[in-house]
Symmetry: D2
Subunit: 289 residues, 4 copies
Amino acid sequence: MGNMGAGIAANLIKAGHEVTVYNRSRPKVDALVAAGARPADTVADACGGDVVLTMLANDDAVAGVAFGDGGIIASAAPGTVHISSSTISVGLSKRLTEAHATAGRGFVSAPVFGRPEAAAAAALFVVAAGPADTVNSVTPVFDAIGQRTFVVSEEPAAANLVKLSGNFLIGSVIESLGEAMALVDRGGVDKHQYLDILTSTLFSAPVYRTYGSLIASEQFEPAGFAAPLGHKDIGLVLAAAEELRVPLPIASLLRDRFLRLLAEGGEQLDWSAISSLAARDAGASDHSA
Amino acid sequence: MGNMGAGIAANLIKAGHEVTVYNRSRPKVDALVAAGARPADTVADACGGDVVLTMLANDDAVAGVAFGDGGIIASAAPGTVHISSSTISVGLSKRLTEAHATAGRGFVSAPVFGRPEAAAAAALFVVAAGPADTVNSVTPVFDAIGQRTFVVSEEPAAANLVKLSGNFLIGSVIESLGEAMALVDRGGVDKHQYLDILTSTLFSAPVYRTYGSLIASEQFEPAGFAAPLGHKDIGLVLAAAEELRVPLPIASLLRDRFLRLLAEGGEQLDWSAISSLAARDAGASDHSA
Amino acid sequence: MGNMGAGIAANLIKAGHEVTVYNRSRPKVDALVAAGARPADTVADACGGDVVLTMLANDDAVAGVAFGDGGIIASAAPGTVHISSSTISVGLSKRLTEAHATAGRGFVSAPVFGRPEAAAAAALFVVAAGPADTVNSVTPVFDAIGQRTFVVSEEPAAANLVKLSGNFLIGSVIESLGEAMALVDRGGVDKHQYLDILTSTLFSAPVYRTYGSLIASEQFEPAGFAAPLGHKDIGLVLAAAEELRVPLPIASLLRDRFLRLLAEGGEQLDWSAISSLAARDAGASDHSA
Amino acid sequence: MGNMGAGIAANLIKAGHEVTVYNRSRPKVDALVAAGARPADTVADACGGDVVLTMLANDDAVAGVAFGDGGIIASAAPGTVHISSSTISVGLSKRLTEAHATAGRGFVSAPVFGRPEAAAAAALFVVAAGPADTVNSVTPVFDAIGQRTFVVSEEPAAANLVKLSGNFLIGSVIESLGEAMALVDRGGVDKHQYLDILTSTLFSAPVYRTYGSLIASEQFEPAGFAAPLGHKDIGLVLAAAEELRVPLPIASLLRDRFLRLLAEGGEQLDWSAISSLAARDAGASDHSA
């Protein structure tokens, strides 16, 4: 339970739900317990309610709590609904769908858009997918944690595809801004003023403001979302696209950018640091190293 | 004088400037004359004021009125300032800069961001570049036609680079949205709902709303900005980048997309139709043809 | 045991080795038995010699005979050397290396370059990797089946990397020839004559003659090496490159080409059919469909 | 008249033709005069024969001797045939075709494949295009300088397209070898041995031997064919492809590679140095700098 999970749990408590919380390390749990949550010592111990919601770092972490003895699928009662809100692969989402169906549990995939502040403010956007009845049954959960819920499909994995594709689009903005700024910088234009022009006009969206500012400042540390995570997510997008046989040339380019950044030792940088490669290729000296 | 020029001229008249208008065909001129403008029969006849503003379709049109006997450079009085607001190449902007300097005229490059409605509402964003004194001397013109002016450089061509790079960024949005929508469509997600998710969250900018809607609907006719114009502008971006030695992999991809669209007969389609290629490559039948 | 394995086994018999052969279906075995081989009814039954050589279609097939009860690793005697000549992933090669080491068996990775005719003629090129002693101990096997052996590393997986990279280079030739032929065809040049010029000059290599002829003729059926196999091998190259953090932009392009070909229904075509996409993008009507 | 032209002229003399030679600087001319050539003081003075053959560095040089007062077109007698053997753009070839037609001179485009040694040995490959009668009338010239002539079209520019596309294919080999070597190098394989494997098998062509050796050795100086020339030729290929509306993704990649190499200061390196970028992106330290 990271910052995202803590915010979500707090809002569920506020909304009057009985909440049991489990985290591998205890400190994060304590604050929630103070707010009214019941602490669980094991995953199985956290599976007694009507709904089990997971918000974890990656596929391995989710698979680790879902499968096996003492995992969610084995421990939850028939009729329990598992809501998976982590950014996981389409493949794992399908495995979870099958395993829950076999075990007679409900499963809804519900990744969210929003940062920890939005989670804390119950202002997330929830992208949910699963059988209509099951999704309907957990609507109060989504209402408690987000400002709006989009139900996109009866197939849980579709929600994961939407979430991953969103990260692909953010990566595309980073790369295209990196290229555009490398160009105008070479042409003698101030990058911050350039960004101001963009975000005052057609590009007045948070994604341009947030990443544009990092790119113009070449401010890639500390990482808000580290390069290896961006690399991983683009890999998950490409894996999903491979399965569906959808060529994604910009995603292929992004993958190559991340490989290069990591090969050069950029593990600790923010994923927006791939923008520095366009600048470097234009002969700019490397300010980030 | 197209829709952009007509709006600009009307606002200059409203602001109290004496305006002389010239257009190859007369009807557009008549409405402005009714509003108080003086009609000119030749380019030279339109060069008698302190400022000559050109707003034309492309390099050839601008070069056609600027150079040669009876052109702006030959006809304007010493001290006259030529404001070029067309989307032209960096190369032509440099040629104009030199020619005006040699002839003792002022030159400011001032392309604008905004559609015809913004031009009519005096709500354009003006990106201006030129010697500080010259730019300052024509500020009242910018104030009359736009909501905000960004002065980006003392080199006029820098403003053209900014404008062209903006069109490159729009093209990048079109391509990346085309790829993302091809992907989620294959995954069973409704494209309009997908766009709603995007524009409700990180991508809440006009460029996503406008182009996303065209892409989701596969509505590429009638063209708001035709594919050959998009192709031309990406070519100008690449030419400017070539000169500055800036590799732009996404621009290269866009160029290949436009070539393919045109090779397939897409001349009359909106430039956002390059998005249909990603869908087609994923095996979607071609709804646009 | 496909055509490759049959040729290899026949040459081992000719060279005087005692050969036991195993194949899932019997007919291929019979001809070799007639030539002096001993037939085996199970994989385990084929593991009694000093050397076990596998030549199978893909990772799954090799893993299927190597691991598990009755598999090579469990069945072979200590000191037996397993030679893997299939085109498998770097990852599987590493798994085999570890498993054999743990079990006290020797392991040499030795993929080959050459078609079935070369296998039949003992004219293969063997790319071998493994501990020097182990490789030396099986040199007589390589001498019996190939015209030349290249020992590239003490790490078995390095041989697989070389083999896979060779398929990447062939794919690059197919794509670049496809683009070049699309171009000269549009320029009114006969593609067969063009190929004649290329192969008479700098490009006088089998890869250009073989694939150039297929591409110029748009002759993609029957498949010599089917598109899904090309797709798979490029995927293995990219996976190996991912592990080593090596961006390979042409491999990324090839992957997208294969995805598109398969999305369009090209499963049964030769992998050189990706060349038709460049022609199609140039507006050529599709002669292959 | 560089090394190519000198070899060609010497072979024309040997074959018994009367040869007049013109070069901007005199020394190269002297050796040919000693062999029997007549020296010319001006371009016009070299236009008195039945055939005028030009072998120059680039478009500007060819345009400089062809057009204008005292140029070939103005100076040659009606019926004279101009053979252009330089590597020039498709666009210039078309301009020459028109200008000669207007002036009543014959024009054959006949670029050659081969290095200076092949020129000296009368072993060039000639790719000729032009009206059949005109090409036939100059066959003895081609027989004197080359080992084989390919007549590819009645349109002169088609021969230039073939020549340029050949340089594109060489560039593709350089890039793909660069990527493959970066990969196997990271996997612990010796690059020279790797090249030996390639050229012993499917890739046994001069282009792989020549460039593979430079790439494996990272030996990019002195330049056999300098990076700016490679950059220029890929630009000419893309310009020709633009005109014909043929997307060439590998050529786009090559263009970006050259821009990067030049932006980093690689002007004096051989064009095969673009291969070092793949190695660098994989984290290799830069041995060439």
